[in-house]
């Protein structure tokens, strides 16, 4: 099951929820395994896992990753992510300019001699190479970011970083979402970037459920409405988590009620939680009550997925 945690507004608590949720879920899984292995006395849940990991956390906010601030992994994002850009063979090129005419992204300029490439505009679609009548275009790699993966806090954790100056986050996000080398996971939590532009959409695509995190304020509602529109456009089932419940007013709850959107969890505006976050601590790792609430949230998501499958979504 893949759960994407998104929002309209930034700073609502996506990463906080994603990390706390993944850690709580990971510990629940290991507790179940501990029971099944005959109640051995492990002091550390990571030892109990015996190297087996069932929960994954993917930090897809590659422009400003934050999950690692809570998890403090021992590994870095050191695998390069490349995109393909065209390279023109000047001997073979006749200067016909067809490649430039077909480029949807204005990345090629037709000049009397050889076309000029603006690599930062290139979306690596390959059409230029495809149409060249003289087979003068080959595709070469250009680095755009890094990804890293490993195990931390009992989770399989992947995160990425877009190189400074790059305009497109989506290739690096796709690399973070690539689980081809990952262990078998039963639940994957994806921490999305804020907003509803391409990076958030790329993260949400393919998820089984989206949790939209908001705060009960006018800004929270305004941006939630945009996020709801985008999520509906993507045809994904979704529910809302209200963070810092109690700070504002009821407009977000009212909106959800009139729109028939389930509010699956309300996290109170709690100083203890805020203090833990400010120290980079995972609150659900030490607070059993909060951990139970989050595990219950996942059960509700599973139930909602069941409902969405039968009723065709909202």
């Amino acid at each position: 099951m893949k759960i994407a945690i998104a929002s309209g507004k930034g700073g609502t608590g996506k990463t906080t929820l994603a990390v706390n949720l993944a850690v709580a879920l990971g510990r629940q899984r290991s507790a179940v395994e501990e029971e099944q292995t005959g109640g051995q006395d492990f002091t550390d849940s990571r030892e109990a896992m015996d190297g087996k990991v069932a929960v994954g956390l993917l930090d897809c906010d590659v422009e400003e990753p934050n999950c690692h601030l809570y998890l403090k992994p021992q590994f870095a994002a050191d695998q390069t992510v490349n995109v393909l850009i065209p390279q023109v063979d000047e001997e073979a090129c006749t200067g016909c300019g067809l490649c430039a005419r077909v480029c949807e992204f204005n990345a090629l300029l037709a000049l009397p001699a050889v076309p000029l490439l603006l690599p930062e505009l290139c979306h690596a679609c390959g059409v230029c190479a495809y149409v060249c009548p003289n087979k003068a275009i080959s595709e070469v790699e250009r680095p755009v970011g890094q990804v890293g993966a490993g195990t931390v806090e009992g989770l399989y954790f992947r995160f990425g970083a877009l190189n400074v100056g790059e305009a497109r986050a989506t290739p690096v996000i796709r690399a973070v979402k690539d689980l081809s080398g990952a262990p078998a996971l039963d639940t994957v939590i994806l921490d999305a970037p804020p907003g509803v532009a391409c990076p958030a959409v790329e993260t949400m695509r393919g998820a089984d459920y989206v949790l939209l995190v908001t705060e009960p304020t006018p800004f929270g509602l305004h941006d939630l409405e945009l996020a709801v529109e985008a999520t509906r456009e993507l045809g994904l089932p979704f529910g809302v988590v209200i963070n810092r419940a109690g700070v504002g007013d009821s407009r977000v709850s009212d909106f959800c009620r009139t729109q028939n959107i389930p509010v699956l969890l309300e996290i109170p505006d709690d100083r203890q939680i805020a203090e833990a976050c400010s120290r980079g601590q995972v609150f659900s790792a030490t607070n059993k009550q909060f951990a139970h609430k989050l595990c219950a949230l996942v059960s509700r998501v599973q139930a909602e997925i069941g409902i969405a499958t039968t009723s065709g979504g909202r």
Partner: protein
């Protein structure tokens, strides 16, 4: 010589369009006679990105030796420089006034972009 001017309309009396990449028209003028051909800059106006590149392509295709505009962004400048087209920047006014200034030698040749992308 053939010179291109970015404009909001297709006439010599039309105002110079200050934004190179988003100009509505590229007006090609043969100097000194001032016979004119106006081309709509559809690609540049509607482009999500690379508007300057698209507009530069129009200027290149029209075989202008130089271009006059209000401001020129980084990709536009790169594209025009690659084609060997000189860029001149003019204060607001009509196409005819900009050509007057050019012919009097009052316009400086730009050595680089004078605004950022998506300005």
């Amino acid at each position: 010589m053939k010179i291109a001017v970015t404009a909001s309309g297709p006439e010599l009396t039309s105002p110079v369009d200050q934004r190179f990449g988003r100009a509505r028209y590229v007006v090609f003028v043969d100097l000194p006679g001032r016979t004119l051909q106006a081309v709509e800059n559809r690609g540049g106006v509607n482009a999500a990105q690379g508007a300057g590149v698209q507009t530069a392509q129009t200027v290149i295709d029209g075989k202008a030796e130089a271009v006059i505009s209000g401001h020129c962004g980084p990709k536009a400048f790169r594209a025009l420089a690659a084609a060997g087209i000189r860029v001149y920047l003019t204060p607001p006014g009509s196409v005819a006034e900009a050509l007057d200034r050019f012919e009097r030698g009052e316009l400086n040749e730009a050595s680089g972009a004078d605004v950022d992308g998506h300005w």
